[in-house]
Structures are given as C-alpha cells and as structure tokens.
C-alpha cells in the first residue's frame, strides 16, 4: 500500500498522488519542539532577566527542557521513511531547504541546554562527588554513582567563590544565547511550513512568529502542569515523612509557595497567549479580506469542515476559556491545572489544524482529504503514524524527566538528602 493511503479519505477531485503524507508525527514535532523552546524560555526569564519569582520553576523547567529535547527529534525519526539516513542532513546539508539546518540548530541548542545545566549543577555534582569519596565503605550503587558524578564533573572540582561566580556568569550568558536559539529552533519549525508555497494554508510569513508564540505558551503551560503534579506528589510524600521529621515544611507552606509560583508563571502564560491569538486572528482576517484564489477552498475547510476543531477546540476551549480562568482573580491550583491543560490542548489543536488542516484540501482546490488517525497498530507504519506512536512521544519526556531527576534533582537540593 502507498504511504498515506491507509489514513487518507478523498472526496471529489484530488490529484492521484495526493495523500496526507505529513500526519500525526508532524503534528507532534512542532508541538514537542514548542514545549522544549517554551520550557527553556521560562527558565531564562529567571536566569537572564532576573525575574526572582520564577526562581523555583526556573531550575525545574531547565531540566524539563533537557528531558524534552530528545523527544523533539523522536517524531521526526518516526516520520522519516528512511530514518537510518537521517544523519545525511548533517552530511550533505542543502541549505536552500528549510529542513537542512535542523540538525545543526538542534545540536547547537541541545549543547547549550546541556552546558547550562552543567553549570547550574556543577556545585551539586562536585559536592556529591566529595561526599561519596569521603565515605569509607561504599555499596555498589554508591561506587557507580561516584563514577557517574566524577564523569559529569569533567574534573572541574574547584568550589571556590570565584569559580562558583564564574559558573553563575556562564549560566547567564548561555541562557542569554539560548533564548534566540530556542526561538530560532521553533520559529524555524514555523518557517518549514510557512515557506511551502505549494500549500495555500501554510504559506504566510506570520507562521514562524505564530509558532514561537504558541510554543512559549505551550512550554509554560506544560511546566506549570508538571510543576503542580510534582508538588502534589511532594506534598503527599512530605505529609507521610513529617510523622518522623516535624521540621519538614508543612502542607500549607508548600501550598502557598506553590500557588505563588503558579500565579506568577500564569501571568507570563497569558501574555504570550494574547500575542499568539492576536497573530492567528490577524492571519485569518487577512485571508478573509484579501480572498485570493485559494480562499474558496480554505473557507470551506476553516468554516465548514474543520469548524469544530478550529473554533470550538482551538480558539474556544483552548484559548478563550483558559483566558477567562487565568484572568479571574483568586487563582487556585485546581483552576490553574484545568486552565493549563486546556491551553496545552489548544496549542496541540493549533498544530493539528495547521499540519492536517493544510492537507485537508487538494492542491487542485477541487477536492478534500480527511485524515483518519490510525488507532490499532497492526503494522509498523500504522504504529509510527498512529495513536500509539503519538502516545509514546508524549510519554517519553516524562520518563526521561524522571530518569534525569534521579541524577540531577530539581527540588531542595540542599535538604533532599
């Protein structure tokens, strides 16, 4: 069977070779990259602009963006028909293609994030090494940890105030460079779509900017969600531990700290949300007003076929409702959680409506294509480009985050052991 035939339903006249070639994984790609970029920008707000209120979530979102990083690559590898040749992008890059620089930009960005984390955690790593070295009798696990942390320290054991000060400056500089690179990485994903002149829905210079704004929105939202969930788990753990150790912070203390962080972060979320919606509406109004050749078919896609997905799910539930939730005074944790989850859904639907919506009509403007998400993975292709492929992409960052935090804890480094 031809690639794409399994999930494409054609109606009226569609060119014989046209199928929905870019499916769920290409929806996941900008969504996941957006989360990476957003999480990084959130952490940089503290490191670069010194937004003190975000201190707690900054370290958290930085590590989270590291956990998300390999996952931005995953949907692409699942999407490629020849994934084993993916490295050719680095071997013979054809820079007239918007995809060609991906490998380079992505690697640069990954190295920046990794280095920044190294500087942030160097003190912790060195202290752990010293602590483990001091122990006389080491268990196998402790020896392994000692080896791992010694490796991570890269032999830089200097903990003098000057050295630590240098670390801090390096973090500031890297976070500073990181912001444009993160925006580039994601605006670039927007450019990949925006520059396809063959696609009437995609081709707009606004695409990169829209992508960056919604990326930051989704990144912040995911950080809030994960932050809330981890805090709730910590509350439960602390409540249990407090029986033996009354000096630990009480549930109330944790809660007030939590809501403060969430409220502050939500403000930035709303800011970027407004920007994203403004640009998206501008694009829509402009298309309606200019009504070029492609408008007839675009109108029937936007206002008829995809109406529910665009206006109810994306704009309604994904933008307007959370907007109201965050702007009403007295934000509670539960409301924030609902709001951010809706925002995440909204951004996902925006990616969906761009990627799948852009292929919902034929390049002949005389027919439509409908994407039917493959559910049951009976073949490898249906797994890769189906529900379960997408789910594995969603789950992986959380698994990675869990693993990374085993090595580099994000909460209370001083009192966690």
């Amino acid at each position: 069977m031809v690639h794409g035939e399994a999930w494409t339903l054609k109606e009226f006249f569609v060119y014989p070779n046209e199928y929905i070639y870019w499916s769920i994984q290409i929806v996941m790609y900008p969504f996941m990259t957006g989360l990476v970029a957003g999480a990084f920008v959130l952490s940089s707000l503290y490191h670069v602009f010194g937004v003190k209120q975000l201190k707690d979530i900054a370290r958290f979102s930085l590590v989270f963006s590291l956990a998300l990083l390999p996952v931005a690559m995953m949907p692409l590898m699942l999407h490629l028909q020849q994934p084993q040749r993916g490295i050719y992008v680095m071997m013979t890059p054809h820079f007239t293609s918007a995809i060609a620089a991906f490998g380079i930009v992505f690697t640069t960005y990954g190295l920046i994030v990794a280095s920044e984390i190294w500087f942030v955690y160097r003190q912790f790593i060195v202290e752990t090494v010293l602590e483990l070295r001091a122990k006389q009798q080491k268990t196998a696990v402790e020896s392994a940890r000692l080896f791992l942390y010694s490796l991570l320290s890269m032999g830089a054991m200097d903990l003098s105030p000057e050295a630590l000060h240098k670390d801090e400056r390096a973090v500031g500089i890297l976070a500073g460079i990181g912001i444009p690179v993160a925006c580039f990485l994601h605006g670039y994903a927007g450019f990949i779509f925006g520059s396809v002149k063959a696609n009437a829905l995609w081709m707009t210079p606004l695409m990169p900017v829209i992508f960056i704004c919604s990326a930051v929105v989704s990144g912040i939202a995911l950080c809030i969600v994960t932050y809330i969930i981890t805090m709730e788990i910590r509350k439960l753990i602390f409540a249990r531990k407090r029986r033996n150790n009354p000096r630990l912070p009480s549930t109330e203390e944790l809660k007030s700290a939590e809501i403060q962080v969430v409220t502050m972060t939500a403000k930035y979320l709303v800011m970027f949300l407004v920007l994203a919606i403004t640009l998206e509406l501008l694009d829509l109004i402009f298309r309606t007003y200019t009504a070029v050749k492609s408008w007839d078919i675009l109108r029937s896609v936007i206002y008829e076929r995809d109406f529910f997905k665009i206006f109810i799910l994306q704009y309604g539930l994904g933008n307007v409702v959370p907007f109201i939730i965050f702007l009403r005074p007295g934000l509670t944790i539960r409301r924030a959680l609902v709001g951010t989850l809706l925002v995440l859904m909204g951004v996902f639907m925006m990616r969906w409506n761009v990627v799948i919506g852009g292929q919902a009509f034929s390049a002949s403007f005389s027919g439509f294509m409908e994407y039917q998400l493959p559910i049951w993975p009976s073949t490898l292709e249906l797994f890769k480009e189906g529900l379960f492929g997408a789910l594995s992409v969603i789950i992986t960052p959380f698994v990675l985050f869990f693993l990374v935090t085993r090595i580099l804890p994000v909460f209370g480094i001083k009192d966690s052991h």
Partner: protein
C-alpha cells in the same frame, strides 16, 4: 620554554587537528557555485501536451507504469490523465480514476468518497481530457526544499531522485504544487517522473509519447530551434500550469482551458 607536559599537549592538539582533513570543512565551493550556474548546455528537454488531441485512452499511463516499474496496482502514478466535464450550469467535475491507467470507459464521474456522479449528456457543456506529468520546472520547488541533495536537476533540465540518498521526509512531496511526487510503495523513497531519462539519453522518446496514438504528447529540446516541438512552443499560443507559483514549468499545453487545475 616548553616543558614535556606542555609539549605533549600541543602535539596532541596538532595531531588531532590533522586528523580532520580540510576537505571535511568544505560544504560547497562558492567559485563552482557561480561558474556553473550560468553554463547552459545544448539540450533542455521540454514537453508539449495537446489537449485537443487527447481522447483519454490512458495508454500513456499504462506504458509509463510498465516502463518505469511503477507498481501496477498501487494508487500512485508518475503520469495521469484528468477528465474535465463542465455542465451547462457552470459546475466543473473532474476525475482521474486510477490515474486513468485503464482509460475512461464510463460516463460516470468518480468523486472518490462522494461516489460516482452521473451527468446527463444534454447537461454537458464541454468535456475534455488533460494529461499531466512532472513539469520539470526551471525553478523546481521540490528540489529547492530537499534537505540532503537527494533530488536534483540535470543540466538538460530533468528533475531526478537519488534513491540511495533520499531520507523520505516528504518535504518535496509537499513542496510540489502539481502533486506529481509520492513515496515509492516498496522502496520508501520519493518517486516521480524521470521524463524517461534512460530513453531520452539514448535518442528515444519517453514511453508515454511513444504510446500515445494521437500525438497528444510530445517531447523536444527547446534549445534546438529546428525541433518541431520548439517551433510550436515559440510560435503558437501555449500555456503552462499554475504559472503563479513562479516555478517556470516546462510542460506546455496547447488548447488548455481555464478550468484546468
């Protein structure tokens, strides 16, 4: 003065540097870039379709599929024929069942999921057939967007795919406004019309041209002023498809109509 430790260190750096040959740093040579861009050869293949002559028999599609080993039953094709039926009330109905591999033998128009549409003969204002194939554009957007250089244009204007180098990202498929590209069902790489490069380069015509009994398809060299195809293109009213994309398509149409997509 250099002590031993420092000497060892420096030697390591120099040796390390030597391992990476300078050529590794060269992604492309800018001088070649300019020198060869404007070098025009003696041959530039172009294609001419005469819409008036096409009867929709689909022999061209059949020949192409066999000649180029395009999987017979796969619902993709390197070339295809579209049927246009315009009704008296101004409706345009288009179809190309199986790319017209078996020709058009029914009056019913295939609207895919919307079913077969029957138009009464007295309601038909006009009906005609339009053969389609890769336009081998002068500015091929599909080549521009290939991230690895797996698709390219030869000096004589044919756009080809390197099957050993394609990573299968599908960007070229999305980049083509004419929908001529697809994924090879078995090889899983981008696939398209080669203008029968193997035939042209040994002085033959393309398989579709040889299979057409009506002369609706012709191939020629636009750089040769004596070529009959060139004469028609330069002296008669010919058209191209989707000129607004700036792709400079090199498949010319005689007798095309505004309804043609």
């Amino acid at each position: 003065m250099m002590n031993r430790r420092e000497f060892c260190k420096k030697t390591m750096i120099v040796a390390g540097g030597l391992i990476i040959p300078l050529s590794a740093l060269e992604v492309f040579n800018p001088r070649r870039l300019y020198a060869e861009k404007n070098d025009k050869g003696k041959v530039r293949w172009v294609f001419l379709v005469d819409v008036h002559k096409c009867v929709g028999c689909g022999f061209c599609v059949k020949a192409c599929k066999i000649e180029n080993d395009v999987t017979w039953d796969a619902n993709v094709t390197r070339t295809w024929v579209e049927r246009y039926v315009i009704t008296r009330d101004g409706q345009t109905l288009i179809d190309s069942p199986k790319g017209a591999r078996d020709g058009f033998t029914s009056q019913k128009i295939d609207q895919a999921h919307a079913g077969l549409k029957d138009v009464k003969p007295e309601d038909i204002a006009k009906g005609f057939f339009v053969p389609k194939l890769c336009n081998h554009c002068d500015n091929p957007p599909c080549v521009q967007v290939c991230p690895v250089g797996a698709t390219y244009q030869t000096q004589d204007g044919v756009v080809l795919v390197d099957r050993t180098w394609c990573i299968g990202c599908g960007y070229c498929v999305m980049g083509c406004p004419y929908g001529v590209r697809y994924f090879h069902p078995q090889l899983h790489v981008a696939e398209k019309c080669t203008l029968c490069y193997h035939r042209l380069s040994q002085g033959m015509k393309t398989a579709c041209v040889d299979a057409c009994p009506f002369g609706a398809r012709r191939v020629g060299n636009i750089r040769d002023p004596e070529d009959p195809v060139t004469k028609i293109i330069t002296t008669e009213q010919v058209n191209v498809l989707k000129e607004e994309f700036g792709t400079k398509p090199q498949v010319f149409y005689l007798g095309s109509s505004m309804e043609v997509k």
